[in-house]
């Protein structure tokens, strides 16, 4: 759950092709104030490592939302 996630992993980003990192820099209220695009290998490596930590401790979709009859909202 979100409360269990370490603070340093609570970030909003996208890693493309394991080569580019697009990060939303947020205000305290969680509003995007800037976008940081980085191709610095060190930044990307760090983000991949954080992402792997997140995924490693995350629930699979089916665990949270077990299959139910299709119902479009």
């Amino acid at each position: 759950m979100a409360e269990e996630i370490p603070r340093e992993l609570c970030e909003d980003y996208l890693i493309g092709d394991d080569a580019v990192l697009v990060q939303l820099l947020l205000t305290r209220e969680g509003v995007a104030r800037a976008e940081r695009i980085s191709i610095d290998p060190q930044d990307v490596r760090q983000a991949i490592s954080n992402f792997e930590r997140l995924v490693g401790g995350a629930y699979e979709y089916e665990q949270l939302f077990p299959a139910e009859p299709n119902q479009r909202l």
Binding site: A2, E3, C10, L24, A58, E68
Partner: protein, 222 residues
């Protein structure tokens, strides 16, 4: 007057005075003082020449770069002219300060690019967005920490979502980690069976080239 020259002259004068006080012939003391001053002047001159040489080398390098790139030449010339006009002739100090700030900002932004990153306001013309996303060939790993329901309900959000689906059709693997927020869940519900319970954190690995599975997992923008 440079510190080297200042110290040298002061030392020479002091030395002459001390020699006179110690009873050494005045003319000899004066000559020693003058020699000291001359040495100081020579040292200062050498330092100045060294600095000038470095500036000339830098200017030469800059000239070569500018000759290679006419756009750079035009931009730097215009910047230098405008900068001097403002710094030397602006009626308000505020304008001069702003000019210095603009120049420093320009330096910083260019240097950031050399360092491999850029910082942009949200939705700037250089934002990664759809253009960057369409250039990806292998994988997308994204997290959604903020609740961006507004974004996903917007036209831009819908286009972004479709771009994700297109990526899957190109065999790009997408893994999206959803931290929290009702917006995530509603988006997922819109494309898949609704969840049985309200949960806050989830993760979904999206299979290669499997748009149906992607729709189930895709939610907020990373």
């Amino acid at each position: 007057m440079t510190p080297v020259l200042l110290i040298g002259v002061a030392f020479s004068v002091l030395l002459s005075v001390i020699l006179v006080v110690l009873g050494i012939d005045t003319s000899n003391s004066a000559i020693i003082g003058l020699v000291g001053t001359t040495i100081s002047l020579l040292l200062d001159l050498m330092l100045r020449v060294g600095k000038m040489e470095q500036k000339l080398i830098a200017a030469g390098g800059l000239s070569r770069e500018m000759v290679k790139d006419p756009q750079l030449f035009s931009a730097l010339t215009s910047m230098a002219t405008d900068y001097h006009k403002i710094v030397e002739g602006a009626p308000y100090e505020l304008f001069a300060e702003r000019a210095k700030d603009v120049l420093s900002e320009c330096q910083d932004n260019l240097h950031n690019l050399v360092e491999g990153y850029m910082i942009l306001p949200p939705l700037s013309q250089f934002s990664f967005g759809l253009k960057g996303l369409s250039e990806l060939r292998r994988s997308v790993k994204a997290t959604s920490y903020v609740d961006a329901e507004g974004f996903w309900n917007s036209v831009a959000g819908e286009k972004y979502f479709q771009a994700n689906v297109e990526l899957l059709s190109k065999d790009v693997q997408i893994v999206r980690d959803l931290h929290r927020g009702p917006g995530h869940r509603r988006k997922i519900q819109a494309h898949h069976p609704p969840p049985s319970k309200s949960r806050h954190a989830s993760s979904r690995r999206l299979g290669r080239g499997d748009p149906a599975r992607a729709l189930r997992g895709l939610s907020d923008r990373g």
